[in-house]
């Protein structure tokens, strides 16, 4: 038990270090500009006074490390500053939308993970069958298709006939059931985009194990193929499966950006795209930090879970 806690502690520390580096990169990116951020934002025609005012407002007169420190400590307390485009506190803008985006990502995960794991196990069970080959071609195709293509095809077939709404409007009075119904198409789009990859990797992880002597032993005992796969192969394939699930959930986090725009979903992705268009750097930095933290956190959880699932990983030197 102690080993597990020590391992989790180690990973946590490492995750924190990664987050620190990420925050430096996100903040430092603005320092890359050859010229002055204020001039870049206001354009060539800006007068000296407005430039000075903006520099003052952005705190550009302070040295970079000091600005970084102020930004980070404020961000840790939930204060991301004020949006330049809307003049509202970023925390207010982000707050409600973060919940919506998390809801969408979890919704898509709840649909895609069971589907892809089941299909993956079946493909491994019936390997080299028509089902397996077709799923391989489909997976390759699904990975190559842009998200907005999938989204619009769904709109064409499911929304145009009035079955599901093609736009998501979430207000304070929306019930949970309504929200599930309204977000079905965006969630389905995300599901279709990530399922193929997860399924292929699940299949590969299981098939890799099938040549092992203990699988042969189980077969010789007269176990049914399904039982061999479920009882003997899947538990040993958990580590790679967990990793690929985490990778795809992390992909969901960035995938939401495009899907949210298609369905006018009031989430962080939409906000980020608007902010990029307006070059509202403070907002973009805040959202990038949130997305990146979620990404790091997911990888951290996957790392811990896959280590726990396979005790041999814990004792490698």
């Amino acid at each position: 038990m102690n080993d597990i806690w020590r391992m989790i502690g180690q990973r946590l520390l490492f995750g924190l270090l990664t987050l620190f580096v990420i925050s430096v990169v996100i903040f430092g990116a603005t320092e890359l500009l050859p010229g002055d951020l204020a001039r870049e934002l206001l354009g060539q025609s800006a007068t000296e006074e407005t430039l000075a005012a903006l520099r003052d407002q952005l705190g550009l007169n302070d040295p970079a490390p000091l600005r970084y420190w102020n930004w980070l400590t404020a961000a840790l307390q939930g204060d991301f500053g004020v949006s330049m485009a809307t003049k509202r506190p970023i925390a207010d803008l982000v707050g409600a939308r973060l919940g919506n985006t998390l809801f969408l990502a979890l919704y898509a995960a709840a649909l895609s993970v069971p589907i892809s794991l089941t299909l993956g196990v079946l493909a491994a069970l019936w390997r080299n069958s028509i089902f397996d080959r077709a799923s391989n071609a489909l997976a390759l195709t699904a990975i190559s298709i842009p998200e907005f293509f999938v989204a619009y095809i769904l709109v064409l077939f499911l929304a145009q006939s009035g079955l599901f709404p093609s736009m998501v409007r979430i207000t304070g009075s929306t019930t949970f059931g309504d929200q599930l119904y309204m977000s079905f198409l965006p969630a389905l789009t995300l599901t279709l985009v990530v399922t193929a990859h997860m399924m292929r990797m699940t299949r590969a992880a299981i098939i890799n194990l099938l040549a092992n002597p203990y699988i042969e032993m189980a077969r010789l005992k007269g176990m049914s193929p399904l039982r061999v796969v479920l009882r003997h192969a899947v538990p040993n394939a958990l580590a790679p499966i967990i990793n690929v699930v985490a990778l795809n959930l992390a992909y969901l986090i960035t995938g939401v950006v495009v899907v949210e725009v298609v369905f006018v979903y009031p989430g962080l992705g939409q906000l980020m795209v608007d902010a990029v268009t307006n070059r509202d750097i403070a907002v973009v930095q805040a959202i990038a930090l949130i997305f990146a933290s979620a990404y790091v956190l997911l990888n951290l959880i996957a790392d811990v879970l896959s280590t726990i699932s396979n005790p041999r990983l814990m004792h490698r030197s």
């Binding site: 990664t18 580096v21 990420i22 430096v24 990169v25 996100i26 990116a29 603005t30 890359l32 500009l33 870049e40 071609a137 390759l140 195709t141 990975i143 190559s144 298709i145 842009p146 998200e147 907005f148 293509f149 619009y152 095809i153 709109v155 064409l156 929304a159 145009q160 093609s166 992390a250 986090i253 960035t254 950006v257 495009v258 725009v261 298609v262 980020m272 795209v273 902010a275 990029v276 268009t277 070059r279 509202d280 750097i281 973009v284 930095q285 959202i287 990038a288 997305f291 990146a292 990404y295 790091v296």
Partner: protein, 304 residues
């Protein structure tokens, strides 16, 4: 019923194009390549044919297109009828023309970006593996830090800072993807730099550049070529996604991503026209993936 018909026609086209291109390739190929093409799967020959068609269309765009790239022809959203075979768009520009020019712009920009990412990533990766020590450590840690941020999010951040123009789009995507290429190039090169012939070449007094170009690159080619195909797909999808979001290639330049966005309202009325550019994007990435899959399969020496 219509859907079923579309699927059947699609499959028939796939087999026809695949078989035809395999037969042609076998006929035209030099003698030592004939077995390669004879054994290629249908998916790969289909992919090669599609890629070839895209290249031809983008090179001959001004000849093939019936009208000018951003010429406003008439009323907006005209239905599919001659002379506007695929109708017109939001501003009354001919859809077919813009699709054809889109091949040139979108694919061209994606190709240039991938090539740039590749040159930078490969040279730095091999250089790091060759020199080792602090240079390798510094470069690798920087790349690790950059890769810890999801690619799309990082590109959005950089686009905010540098502004959204085609040039900054190319540079930003190339920078983000170069980190991924660097990783692969470095790990491939690490296996090569410990070989005896590299030692011999060093003792011969070959310079850094010559070592990279003459000794390491030829031996690292196979995985790098496959990676180029995959990377192209990612870059192509990323550029299309950004253009779709209104942050990439801007109108009036014809581009598939922004064409989908501009005409998206038609979809809610059951018109499939805006799906054509999206389909064009999907078809090319699928084709490239098929070919890469075949190459990887061949390189790994796997037999069914």
């Amino acid at each position: 019923m219509q859907i079923l018909l579309a699927v059947i026609i699609g499959l028939a086209l796939f087999f026809a194009i695949g078989l035809a291109s395999r037969a042609t390739l076998r006929g035209l190929a030099p003698a030592h390549l004939v077995p390669t093409f004879r054994d290629m799967p249908l998916t790969a020959s289909f992919g090669l044919a599609v890629i070839l068609i895209y290249v031809v269309v983008s090179v001959l765009a001004p000849v093939l297109a019936p009208f000018g790239e951003s010429e406003v022809m008439g009323a907006q959203y005209l239905p599919w009828a001659a002379p506007y075979h695929l109708g017109t768009d939001k501003l009354g520009r001919d859809m077919l023309t813009r699709l054809i020019y889109g091949a040139r712009n979108t694919v061209g920009i994606a190709f240039a970006t991938t090539a740039l990412a590749f040159v930078v990533g490969t040279v730095l990766g091999i250089w790091a593996a060759l020199v080792g020590g602090w240079l390798d450590q510094t470069l690798s840690r920087i790349v690790d830090a950059l890769m810890a941020i999801p690619a799309l999010i990082f590109s959005l951040l950089l686009l905010t800072i540098f502004g959204t123009s085609v040039l900054s789009l190319i540079l930003v995507i190339a920078a983000v993807d170069a980190t991924r290429v660097y990783r692969l190039a470095r790990s491939v090169a690490q296996g090569i730099v410990v070989m005896d012939y590299i030692e011999a070449a060093r003792l011969r007094g070959e310079g850094m550049w010559r070592l990279i170009r003459r000794e390491i690159l030829p031996n690292a080619m196979a995985p790098l070529v496959a990676e180029f195909g995959l990377r192209f797909c990612f870059v192509f999808l990323a550029i299309s996604a950004l253009s779709f979001l209104g942050l990439g290639i801007k109108p009036p330049t014809a581009d598939w991503g922004s064409m989908v966005r501009e005409n998206a309202t038609l979809i809610t009325f059951g018109d499939v026209t805006p799906l054509l550019p999206a389909g064009a994007i999907a078809l090319l990435t699928v084709a490239v993936n098929f070919v890469v899959d075949w190459q990887l399969h061949r390189a790994s020496g796997l037999k069914e």
